[in-house]
């Protein structure tokens, strides 16, 4: 069964000073599934992402990625172990070209971290992979524009592309459709569906339509505690979830 669990959170708690944000969170993400975390604002979803990706260390508990402890490790090590995240607020290299934004991720995966004696233009594999990624996120015609010049939804697509660039096994997306029109949401969801094939996805999302159509399993986080985990049907039918969070929406 071990191989089945790609990400395992055990007894995770996080406090900032006297404020308890998370308490006793137990969560298992299975290999290859699309798993959503939902919950009202302030439930601790972003904090949970920050703990998994290495932004913060948990106050207590352990986080296993493929059986290896990652709690408290710095972000760059967690990334190299195969987990990559996107950000709720677009976090790109504004002055660099779209292509360059992606290539930096691809370079990292190729281990070109301190490469001072090679020409970047001569790295064929890196450049080809970056071009391919550019096509996958459908930004070919924006290739040489500074990333800061893109429209909001294009930047969100780039954000996802950058998350994929290090070829992670586990992908964390933090509200990928936040602030988007329906049309844009549809576009981004199709993109996510396409690019995460064969990978494990953990996503924080507010749009319930998106969550129920995209994901295999859903976890509900309320006031720092995990209320339930299950398939969309199970979550829809769960009384506690209905009372605490979904309310009229699905009843």
């Amino acid at each position: 069964m071990r191989e089945d669990r790609v990400l395992d959170l055990r007894g995770i708690a996080k406090s900032f000073g006297s404020a308890r944000i998370l308490e006793g969170v137990e969560l298992t993400v299975r290999r290859g599934e699309r798993h959503a975390i939902i919950g009202p604002n302030g439930a601790g979803k972003s904090t949970l992402f920050n703990l998994i990706s290495g932004q913060f260390s948990p106050t207590s508990g352990s986080i296993l990625l493929n059986g290896r402890e990652i709690a408290g490790r710095p972000p760059h090590q967690i990334n190299r172990m195969g987990l990559s995240r996107s950000f709720q607020i677009t976090n790109i290299y504004h002055r660099l070209s779209v292509f360059e934004n992606l290539r930096l991720g691809v370079m990292a995966r190729h281990g070109l971290r301190f490469s001072l004696f090679r020409r970047v233009a001569a790295l064929r594999a890196v450049n080809e992979e970056s071009e391919a990624l550019l096509q996958r996120i459908r930004l070919e015609d924006r290739r040489d524009r500074p990333a800061g010049d893109l429209t909001y939804s294009e930047q969100r697509a780039l954000e996802i592309g950058m998350t994929l660039a290090t070829a992670p096994e586990v992908i964390l997306l933090d509200e990928p459709t936040a602030g988007m029109s329906q049309e844009e949401t549809h576009y981004v969801i199709e993109l996510i569906r396409e690019v995460t094939k064969g990978k494990t996805l953990l996503v924080v999302e507010h749009d319930m339509n998106v969550v129920f159509s995209l994901c295999d399993r859903i976890s509900v986080l309320v006031y720092g505690e995990l209320l339930a985990t299950g398939t969309p049907e199970e979550i829809r039918a769960n009384r506690a979830v209905q009372e605490a969070y979904l309310g009229e929406e699905v009843a």
Binding site: P74, F87, Y93, L104, V120
Partner: protein, 424 residues
Amino acid sequence: MARVWQLLLFVLIMAVLIGLPPLLGAGLQNAMTNMLIAALFAMAFNLLMGQGGMLSFGHAAFYGVGAFAVMHLMTAIDRGGLSFPTPLLPLAGAAAGLLVGLVTGWFATLRSGVYFALVTLALAEMLHSLAPHWEGLFGGEAGISSMRMPWGGFIFGQVIEIYYLTLIWVTLSIGLLYAYTRTPFGRLTLALRDNEERVRFMGYDAHATKMIVFAVSATFAGIAGGLLAVSNEQANYELFGTHVSAQVVLHTFVGGSTVFFGPAIGAAIFTLFAYLVSDVSRSWLLYQGVIFVLVMLYAPLGIGGVVMLHLRHWASIPWQRMVGPYAGATAATLLMAIGTVMVVEFLEALFSPHYVAQRRQAETSWPAFERFGASWEPFGILTWGPPLLLLIVGLLILLRLRHRIVALWDEVQETAETAARSGA
């Protein structure tokens, strides 16, 4: 097309740098040597500032360390009979810069922004205050001096020989700095400037990366300091002074930190300016400061940035309508410059100790003073009237033309944007 122009410009500049100095006197040859050294120092600084996004207020530390390392090697050759090729002396500066850069960089890059700047400032100040007391290492207050040894048929006794040696080193170093921008690590340096957080989440160790950028910058600053030592055959603790750290910041910003060659342009212009003006006027530092403030206020991209802006939009600039306002603005700036210089020089004369002594001896309380080869009445309308008139007329013309120039540039930007949109 742009490539051809760039190549042509490069060839032209190299031709001037190679061909001109033999026709000049030793004083100007020396000034040009200092110009090249300042250019390299500013380029090294800008690797950290413009590309890495780390503003250091203490780059004198590495400049000075490089100079002292070279002096020690020079002394060892001179006194100890160590055999080492004189043209390679700056290597000692590079090694010292790299070493000190790695150690101090490890600490400084633990922090970002203001805190980083303050750590670097403290570092240079620490060396500045320690150096006079450490006789053995820095030669006390007097510093260290030595002699360049002849090598391979070259005597290295003439300024022109040192000039060419410096030119080779600076060209090579700037070439390496350019190559750096084309490496994967060079691209990563730019990413670090734009968004350090994302760099970490892409699997890069941001601290180690910053430390190496810092050390590379320190290495080239060390070469610049080493070249200065080779040229002057001496070094003292003043090299660690705040004014040295401040000077390189000034050169870089006036030249333009967003353009690769910008800092070199700023350094070259200011070094030449200092050489030419410091002989004529005691207020040259004031003029330099005024130029710096004006560039920061009205052309924050710096000289290089303004030039690049024009080159980028060359085709869409309505030159026929632009030439008039530009010529007018240049003339107005000249008028204001003359007015400013007159006012500053008059004030300088009036407050000079020389004039104070004159007043004591004179019968009238405010005797006339000498400036620009003429005699001026301290309260005369003919003294203050012309400069003030020049300032006012110049200002009025500039204010009028500014609107026209801004409006024309708005047009240019608009054409550029529509072109970008339709092209995409």
